[in-house]
């Protein structure tokens, strides 16, 4: 069981999001912020497009030999004094993590940003077992206070405005002076920093995600901008790395190539502020570091994507560029998608992980504009993979009956050119006559979805093929 999904209610979620003025204002920041910065970063690096090819090839190679690289990685972690745990699903991952926390006698667990931890719902599980999880990424900290899921994979609180964060801080940080000034974002940041500093020092276990797991060295790599990841993994006695199987890369050289496209695609930075490598527990000569080092590697349905057309999705390095460039994401935000992963990458990945019967709306709610694919650093053909989901749905009769019967009727005529010409000629004649006065329709039966927001332009009347036959072929004969 993974975290609860509202993906089946995507349409209702979307309608609510579209009517949420505050959210709509916040979504403006996604459009403005990320797109120009990525564009500038890409333009400044002449080899950017070639690097995207290299990034795709590295991930493809790794996925082809994933079993070997997983074993090699495990061996390296063990030899550096760490432990590797393989979790088939979310339940197993939660139990493994809870077990490690209990062994450490943990009361407080600090957490770096990790989408896998959202996927397995670890916070809830720890709380239910008397352990306090504390998110230390500012955005994650804010949404933890609000009891929300991230709405974006790298900017989890992008759906919020500063005034909402101020309200949350006043609600939760009751030990501080009620009259303090929090009108500036930097004041919010300073307050969060002060509160989190105490938590860092009190933590018994630190959990981080991983952007890459390096088979060659047994190293896990995280990229952050706040430095919270370092404090999470260095200060407590026990460090747990929680990552999914597709985070593997063969070598440090491969990881560094991928790092060159990751931050540029995500935030437009050349590199994130911190790029942190950790390999096993603290050695005797190390100045700091955890005494215990655990890696929990989650499958949760991913291995069944290998060898299928959805294997390409496992190249994803979670930069968020696809959602930053998606008109649907811009319109409804991340929560409407109803599970952990929003936007185009979520529209492909979510059906793989929780089932297309639950997440079927997501790959359908796309115009196939292709902007996601055009910016993906590992060149995942996202529209094609969404279409593959639509094909699976069609095969399994999950496509809505109205759509199916509409397609059938249309297909019947489209397969019969002579009948089609006859029927469309008659239909367009009638429609043109009916729309002659205004040149458009404000309402049409069978097209209410269309006419709810826009007029339907009336046809000119005679079809092209009828007129062509009359003017050209008639004249020639």
């Amino acid at each position: 069981m993974t975290v609860h999904s509202t993906s089946p209610q995507f349409k209702q979620n979307a309608a609510r999001a579209l009517n949420d003025d505050q959210l709509q204002k916040a979504l403006g920041n996604v459009k403005q912020g990320f797109i120009d910065k990525r564009q500038m970063a890409a333009a400044k690096l002449p080899e950017f497009e070639a690097l995207r090819d290299a990034a795709r090839d590295i991930k493809n190679h790794t996925l082809e030999h994933l079993d070997l690289y997983l074993e090699a990685y495990e061996e390296k972690v063990r030899s550096s004094g760490g432990h590797v745990h393989f979790a088939r699903n979310a339940d197993e991952a939660r139990d493994i993590i809870l077990g490690i926390c209990r062994d450490a006698g943990a009361k407080t667990v600090t957490k770096g940003k990790s989408m896998i931890s959202e996927e397995i719902g670890i916070n809830h599980h720890l709380e239910a077992n008397g352990i306090r999880p504390v998110e230390t990424d500012l955005g994650e900290y804010i949404i933890q206070l609000r009891g929300e899921l991230p709405s974006h994979i790298i900017a989890p609180a992008v759906h919020l405005n500063a005034t909402q964060v101020e309200e949350d801080f006043r609600r939760v940080h009751t030990h501080l002076d009620a009259k303090r000034d929090l009108s500036e974002p930097v004041q919010l940041l300073t307050e969060a920093r002060a509160v989190l500093r105490e938590r860092f020092l009190a933590a018994d276990v630190g959990i981080t995600g991983a952007n890459f797991l390096v088979a060659e060295t047994g190293t896990s790599i995280i990229v952050t901008n706040e430095g919270n990841g370092d404090l999470t993994q260095i200060l407590p006695k026990t460090h747990i790395v929680l990552a999914s199987i597709e985070k593997l890369v063969p070598t440090l050289e491969d990881a560094s190539q991928l790092l060159r496209v990751l931050a540029r695609s995500a935030t437009g930075q050349e590199m994130s502020v911190y790029t942190t490598f950790s390999t096993g527990p603290r050695r005797s000569a190390d100045a700091d570091g955890p005494e215990n080092y655990h890696v929990v590697i989650l499958d949760n349905g991913r291995s069944s994507m290998l060898g299928t057309s959805f294997e390409e999705m496992l190249r994803c390095i979670r930069c968020g560029a696809c959602m930053n460039h998606c008109p649907v994401y811009h319109a409804v935000g991340g929560h409407a998608y109803g599970w952990v992963y929003p936007g185009p990458m979520g529209a492909v990945l979510t059906p793989s992980l929780i089932g297309v019967d639950k997440a079927g709306h997501l790959p359908n709610a796309s115009t196939f504009c292709g902007r996601c694919e055009s910016v993906c650093p590992v060149r995942i053909p996202l529209p094609k993979l969404m279409r593959h989901w639509r094909e699976r749905e069609f095969e399994r009769h999950l496509t809505p009956a109205t759509v199916r019967s509409g397609l059938q009727l249309w297909g019947f005529f489209a397969r019969r050119p002579a009948l089609y010409r006859f029927a469309t000629r008659a239909a367009m004649g009638v429609l043109a006559l009916a729309g002659r006065q205004r040149g458009r329709f404000a309402w049409l039966p069978m097209a209410r979805g269309w006419t709810k927001y826009r007029d339907f332009p009336a046809p000119q009347g005679e079809t092209f093929q009828a007129r062509w036959k009359r003017e050209r072929q008639g004249a020639r004969a």
Binding site: V328, A331, E391, R440, R454, D455, F456, A458, Q460, F464
Partner: protein, 265 residues
Amino acid sequence: MSVLPLQGRPANPRVGLFVTCLVDLMRPSVGFAAVKLLEDAGCIVDVPVQTCCGQPAYNSGDRGTTRDLAMQVIDAFHGYDYVVAPSGSCAGTIRVHYPELFEEDPNWRAKADALAARTYELTSFLVDVLGVTRVDASFDGPVTYHDSCSGLRELGVQTQPRRLLGSVEGLSLVEMKDSDVCCGFGGTFAVKYSDISGAIVDAKARNVEEAHAPTLLAGDLGCLMNMAGKLTRDGRPIQVRHVAEVLAGMTDEPPIGVAKAPAVK
């Protein structure tokens, strides 16, 4: 059969016009504008009997119907030097997606590949294949141009229509903000997810209006009907036309979604 290079192509290539189902049914004047542009450029244009490229079925996951329609198109258009469509979306379906439909059928795959290699979007065919640099047309006033997604991202149609528009006498091109961002049409998406589609086309309509050009052009009738429908619904007095109409100097028909003026007696 491979693409004919610029030098090696016949002086009067035989072009099969893939008129597209929307142009056929809704706005035949676009098809005749395409014919004029092609004939002016020396092509011999023919229009074989046709229905639809199959895109609505393809994007709805109905591969069987798509394949049937693709075979129909492949058969109907197999004898021409080139196939040209006044649409990046339909040309993209034939050029990019038909070969994908027959991955397990080498016989049809070869035919699909051959057709794909000869198929072009109208403005890209005129500029990239025929080397047309100017058209014989005039148009009064500024226009703004929307890049339709499939043409732009599947076929690289971006500079070609702009270059041709630049040669239209009296026309000036004013770029809108985010001209390369989707209008929210997406075929059946506009009906299935009408709330989201409505929000996306609303943002597009604002950008169109802020360009302060009285005319909006694009190369795909689906997008044009979506944007025109939104602009008329909101009472924004912007005339919407297919780019081929302006390039061919055939703007006698009223713009999309506008009634014919009553005949003066």
